[in-house]
Structure formats: C-alpha cells, structure tokens
Amino acid sequence: MECEFRSRLVKTPFSHLRGTNSFNHALHPNQLQSNPLTPPRKQSVAAVLLTLSSLASLAQTPAQPQAPPSTPSQAAPSQAAPIAPRPTRTLILIDPAHGGPDTGAHLPNDVLEKDITLAFNSRLRALLSTNNFAVISTRTSDPSAAFTTDQRAEIANHDRPAACLILHATSSGSGIHLFTSRLTPPEHPTHILQWNTAQAAFTPASRSLANQIGLALLDAKLPVILGQATVPPLDNLTCPAIAIELAPLASTTPVTNANYQQRAAQAIVTALINWRAENAAEGAAQ
C-alpha cells in the first residue's frame, strides 16, 4: 500500500464550483490561527479579516421570514432592542457520489445512482439552507467529467466543513445505510496527516454523528443499518464524515420515491440541528 502524503492546505481550483459560500474558507478561525505571521502584520490582517467576516456574515444570512414591525418601538434601531441569539451557521459538505461517465449503480427502471444522489443532494441542500446551515456540494449538476474521489476529498479538506455527507444509492438491502470509516483513532495524534488515514482522528466524531442521524431516522420510522466500510473518499476526509446510502424501503418503495427521500432528508437535517446545538452547548461550557 503506497503511503501518499498530501498537504491539508492544498490550494485547489475548485472554489468557483462550490455552492453557497465561496469565501467561507478564507474566514475560518482555524486558518487564521495557522498563519505564521509576525505580530504587527498579524494584527492588521486579523483586523481586515474580522471586518470582512462581519460583512460576510451579513451577506450570508438568509432572508428569514420576520413579522413586520407593529409598533414604532419594534422598528427602532437595534441598540434599543435586545439582540436575539442567532443560531451558529455550520458548514456542511455534501458529496453526491458518482457523476459524469461514472454512473454508479444501475437501479431498476433504468435509473442511475448518480441521478438519485443528485436529487437527494438538492433536497438536503434546501432543507439545510432553510435551517441556517451553510452548504457546499461537490456537484450540483451532472458534469461531463466529474471529480475523482481524491479531488472531492481535497475540496472537502480545503473548506474544513463541520461535517461531510457522502450520498449513495443502491437497490440492495433495505432502508438507509450509514457508514463510517473503518479506521481506528491514532494512539498518538500528530499534525501531519497521512492521506490514506486522514479520517482516523475523526472517527469517534463521525460515529457519534452517524449514531445521532440513525436515531433521527428511526424516529422518522425509517429502518437504519449502521456500519463501517472502506469507501473512497471516506478515509481521506478531515472532518466528521458519513456515507449515507439509500436503499429501497421494504421492497415496495424505491429509492426514487420523492416522499421517501424527503422523509430521509428531513430526519438527517433534524439530527444535524441537534448535533449543532450540542456542539454549541459544549463549546459554551468549555
């Protein structure tokens, strides 16, 4: 097995293909901390970036349905009214697997897996955006030449999302299959990550998130199987990552069923909302 090392901060030319927030990565606090700058320059750059960050957060905030001000006091400047806590925006990367000449599985009725993953991606994107998540997809159409799994991992690692969801579909089995990496966490974590085992440090978080999504799917009356597998690019991701595979529901509901997909997407988003709230609470406690 070749041991291939790659930088975690590889610059990739894929930023123009991302979904909603092409400049999120530039404002990530981890990346701010990783710049080895001298103190005066660091302060000035930090000030500029903080200004840009505030402008970016204003620009990224989706239009929330708000009641019109009924009294003049509600329409007063914000200094007078208490500022309501806004939910933390969390970046989610969705990878609709396959695409282009890679059709994936051939499902019944001449349906291709790449089309199912793309449709499910659209449902997840809409629901996540509605719930104040920032979303990046590795593809939003069916390009003639899709990214390789290594390129998808590079996109994900470059943008440092809070969670990565890899979408698949199959005609085998039943229900929804949630897979995490088979890697075991390293005994002595290091800053240098090996490409083939980059996910190892994130497997506890990945399995915890998979368990949470599984519970939400069970609450939605959808059968779930939790498992571990070696599926590219799962092992190359430096974020909590799950491969979600849609299978027919009890041999009567195919994966093409819109209602089935919507229920699954809604349950996944519900789990992610809870997961974000728990992470925020843990962060506040610390």
């Binding site: 097995m1 890679d102 051939h106 939790l226 498992g227």
Partner: protein, 242 residues
Amino acid sequence: MIPRYQRILFWSLVGGIFLMGAFLIHGCRQAHKRLTALNDATPIAAPTTTSTQDVTLYLANDADGSIAPTQEELALPQDPTLRARALLEHLLAEYAGPASTHVLKSGPAVDDVFFLPLPITAPAPTNTLSATTGLPQQSKAAPAHAAKSTGEVAVVNLHGSFVENHPSGIEVENLTLLSIIGTLHANFPQLTEVRFLVDGQAHDTLSGHADLKHAYPAVDTTTTPTPPQPEAAPNPQETTQP
C-alpha cells in the same frame, strides 16, 4: 414404368441423404461436447478420493447487514492455495442459489489465491553503476511492510466477470469482502492480511464503492447488526474491527 436404373439411382440418393444426415448429427454432437467442455466453469475437479472436512463459511445477509459463520462439510484439495480457491468458489457459489440472502450472479469468481509470507522485502539491489554519477546505484525501495508485519498475506485474484456482474452498493460490496475475509481467516489462521486483484491487476473498487486497493486485516468479520443507541458512545456495527 420407371426404368430400373432410375430406381437404383433414386434409392442410392435416398441412402446418401440418410448417411449425410447421420454424419451431420454426429458432427453436431461432437461440436456440442467440445463447446460444453470449453464453457465448463468448474474450477477444480472434485477430489473424490479426499475425505470431507468441516469448514467455516462466513455468510452475508443483505437484509440486516449481518455476517454469520456456518459450518459445512467439504472435500477440498490439500494444497493451501488450491484449497483457498476452492473454498472461496464454494462460498461465492452459495450466494448464487435461489435461497441466498446475499444474491450474486453465478459464474467463475476467483481466478487464483496466492499466499505470501510477510514482511514482503524489496528485491536485492543490483550491482549496476549509475549513468550520471558512475557510482553503484542504491535501491531506494523500502520494504512494503514494516518489520513488525508477520504471518502471511493472501492475494485473492478475482475474475473480471465477477466484478462486472457484482451488485453495486456500499453495503452489498462490503459484505462480499467481509465474507471472503472472514472465511479465509477462519480456515487459514496464519493469514494476517488479505489483498484483492481483478484479472491480475490492481482495481480501485469492487463495483464502484468498496475499496480494493486497501489491504484488509484478516480477522473475524462476524457482524451483528445493532440499532443506533440513544445517548451512547459510538457503537460500531461490527463486533470486530478488520
């Protein structure tokens, strides 16, 4: 009145027709036997003189994503590699049955199985001189495995048609690999790793999902499905970690 010579000619022709028909039928039967012999997918002749023995097969179930060991009696060759190949052919033939819980198409599945001792060392450096420096060239190839690797690695060379006809999906592909690995581990305890080739070449995935470039540890792959646990630590499905 038909002349005699015409009657003789007529019956001679009728006889010739029957003779040619018989020859044609005989030729067709011979050709059919020859073609059938070419298409015989049986990899190894059954060892009729060898007594049967208990073997453990790890059978997969797509419905719940489980893998369970079962005992069977088989007559197998004595040579380890032939034995492993016959065992895997029997395992994968089980999945082609009508009552299979992990449906795979029938046909040849395993071309070869090789056992290699670990650690695999690099070839000895040759005493050639460098064209640029004039100094003896030194091999930069490191051993493929660390010195701590012991035991044997099984290289399973899958048939291309088996990979092409395999159902596509993470779960179904993963179960096939775990079934093969668990069966090899149970019957060849000296194995520590299992690698896969397709038609003698490295292959990215089994059928678009499960990684085939990865070396899998040869361990017990018994899988018991467990539902998500509320307020629980990560609870992997597999009881063991390959």
